[in-house]
Symmetry: C2
Subunit: 440 residues, 2 copies
């Protein structure tokens, strides 16, 4: 085999072994190593939720290829509107300047560029937090795993049930849990905090077993519930009393339009004593594919031995991460300019109008609906006895609309269906027409 | 406190608690949680190497602020040349199109865009691997942690000594090790494979205790040694015999210019039976700040229970990662066009010429020097008895040149100094003049 030109940059022209004429290596039989599989991975039941949804959608399309153009996704919370002008110019300039001698930059601080950390602290938190408490990242999902990495194997985690599946899945992967009970669908050694219509989707943590780390997302994914100031004050106080660390996921906070509902946990007095906040530009700046988020770790928060949580998170960030892309951080700066914030506001208006259309439609055909006012998710209560995965399949087959079954977010989500408001308006309107037929 | 305009997107106008006139919260006293610190973090001796180098440099500059303009970095391997035209246009277009209805994209596959996976497999590996074996990521450092996450707590890791500190540090963080022995500076339960001038920097793994996972970087960081085809064949065969998984770090492979030296482990017959390859665009496309890498997991590689390694890595990628930035992946595609590969080649020429200058200079003043021909690192052997951290400090103080002490890469690096060839040419030449004075 002769390799020519630039290819020899990556392969050595004289050393490759026999390759079949199609370029494929000749042997591909299975090869068993002597390395034991990480036992925590065998505890995981099924794949991660969203790829699983995609798999089922693709399986449907394989059997029904004529439906490819008809399919509409109200599934994964994936933004669809183009990035607005000012924010876009931040990204484009961030890329362009890398071609110039003065504008080029290599490795930045793993914690993020100083100007962006400063801007987040001053513009978004009005000085409630310090720049050195901000860790800029490639997104909230990745930060949750890095937090788990920091907490390690020995902690007990509590989650809202239902909730974003990353909290539970990463707890399992880290070895914090036992097996999943096939009856309850709950993992051993996770504290599930029921969030149902009965308790207005706000958990009663004080009545449940203590956890070391309490994951709490508001507005919640998938229920769309946003905790009030009183509720959040209670939760912060309970965590303080029980010595729990609260990981507050604020990824949807700017969607809150109701008066007086907190958008950051640090609006609650005493929160810096117990809380970490995870955040993301994904959903309101159109950055789901661009990748930018941040996590706030208060400098005063300690483990039980007096060591600083911030120091250990800093060790994770510097050792296992190399900073968010410099191009993307430049886009983040543009988001936080006055014009960028206005553009974000306009995007949120658009998606919240979608949510209202979905909510009104489902209510008009007799469903009880939650969320959708302070959140881009509409959580639809199904009639008694209907299983959410069955309803998901039914809607996919009859209406070619992709939704997410509530059970995908934990056992507490059974009996509900999540609709995402991130589709283009036309698709939302068309989906509503079909859902009126299929679900009425 | 009244919040106005866009600020209310992120904070609730009516609910913030009392903030001091400077905007700072009124209480910042320490707060001890009841959460036990992850014991693995207390095993880590000191901070991560490269921030520690930066800390010492900054401490020096604080005491000698008049030297700020004089300082030259031959320290961290951070690219300094602007991104060339074709690759840059890929990045800029990747950003620009997000502002259009047709060009916008949100979440991509967590494993990377299909076209980029295909292009990596076909262009860089000439079909030796399949697209579905390629996992595109935000860099090799992050992938090493994700591999550790997959392997878990129960494995024994082997590392070249000296080596890139991420292998050992992440093994410690995952709980695979015991404490560091203050005499030998080695962590308990890590297999250190000595790589010294005596064995031409190639380890004799067969004579050492078996490890589950063998981390091997060629060309090596920091020694600059590139393993020959015979050496690599031996290593692959030994790993196969012992049932070890070889994690081959090829981040510097395109710097290899010697005839017949492999640039990918998959050039070795049988490597797909034992090896994973970690790779990165950082060092040769100028992407240290842009963030793009990939990891190849052969589809036939199994754990001892017959489960596929690729499936568990896929679970990590989908659950704890959300894909490399779509903008950056567009830049990756441009790297792999004919023009992009030529640009990469030119950048490598430039940095290798730097390496030659550094190597020649150090040899001219009587040092024994390794690396620097097939690698962007020059590894200088210090006179008997000199400690590398002392020499580092001495050069910083007398010549205002930042280097990296060999001991920072593991106990086997003691007695050596690493010089990076990534500085601009002028800086390299000036540094050489100063080193001739200071080190002669």
């Amino acid at each position: 085999m002769k390799l020519v030109g630039a290819l020899s940059l990556f392969l050595t022209a004289t050393s490759a072994f026999t390759v079949a004429p199609n370029g494929r290596p000749t042997s591909t039989s299975l090869s068993m190593s002597g390395v034991t599989r990480n036992p925590n991975f065998s505890k995981l039941a099924g794949g991660y939720l969203f790829p699983e949804i995609g798999r089922r959608r693709n399986a449907y399309l394989e059997e029904n290829p004529e439906m490819a153009d008809r399919i509409i996704s109200l599934g994964i919370g994936d933004t669809t509107q183009p990035i607005p002008e000012n924010i876009l110019s931040g990204l484009v300039e961030g890329a362009s300047k890398l071609g110039t001698k003065d504008g080029y930059s290599g490795y930045g601080a793993e914690q993020g560029k100083a100007d962006l950390r400063e801007k987040i602290a001053s513009t978004l938190y009005n000085g409630l937090i310090e720049p050195e408490e901000v860790f800029v990242s490639d997104g909230a999902k990745c930060d949750i795993m890095r937090l788990q990495q920091m907490f390690g194997t020995g902690v007990v985690s509590a989650v809202q049930d239902p909730s974003y599946p990353v909290y539970v899945d990463t707890s399992v992967m880290m070895g914090q849990t036992g097996l999943q009970d096939p009856e309850t669908m709950q993992y051993e050694n996770i504290v599930y905090m029921p969030c149902t219509a009965e308790n207005e989707f706000f958990p009663d943590y004080a009545s449940l077993p203590r956890a070391d780390v309490v994951y709490f997302c508001s507005p919640n994914n998938p229920t769309g519930a946003a905790a009030t100031k009183e509720q959040l004050t209670d939760l912060v106080n309970t965590c303080k009393e029980r010595g729990s660390i609260l990981v507050f996921d604020a990824a949807y906070a700017p969607f809150i339009r109701s008066e007086g509902v907190p958008k950051s946990v640090f609006e609650i007095e005493g929160a810096k004593d117990v809380a970490i906040e995870v955040n993301s530009f994904s959903k309101y700046a159109g950055f789901t594919g661009v990748r930018l988020g941040w996590t706030v770790i208060p400098s005063n928060l300690q483990f039980s031995d007096g060591s600083l949580v911030r120091d250990d998170f800093n060790r994770v960030m510097t050792t296992a991460f190399n900073g968010a892309s410099n191009i993307v951080q430049s886009g983040g700066m543009a988001c936080l300019e006055e014009k960028g914030l206005e553009e974000i506001n306009t995007l949120i208006d658009y998606y919240l109008e979608n949510a209202k259309i979905l909510k009104d439609t489902m209510e008009s055909i007799g469903y009880k609906v939650f969320g959708g006012t302070d959140a881009p998710y509409v959580f639809v209560q199904l009639p008694e006895g209907q299983k959410s995965w069955d309803v998901f399949s039914d809607i996919l087959e009859k209406a070619q609309v992709v939704t997410i079954p509530g059970a995908g977010f934990g056992p507490g989500g059974e009996g509900y269906l999540r609709l995402s408001a991130f589709a283009p308006r036309d698709n939302v309107l068309e989906a509503c027409e079909r859902l009126k037929v299929t679900m009425a």
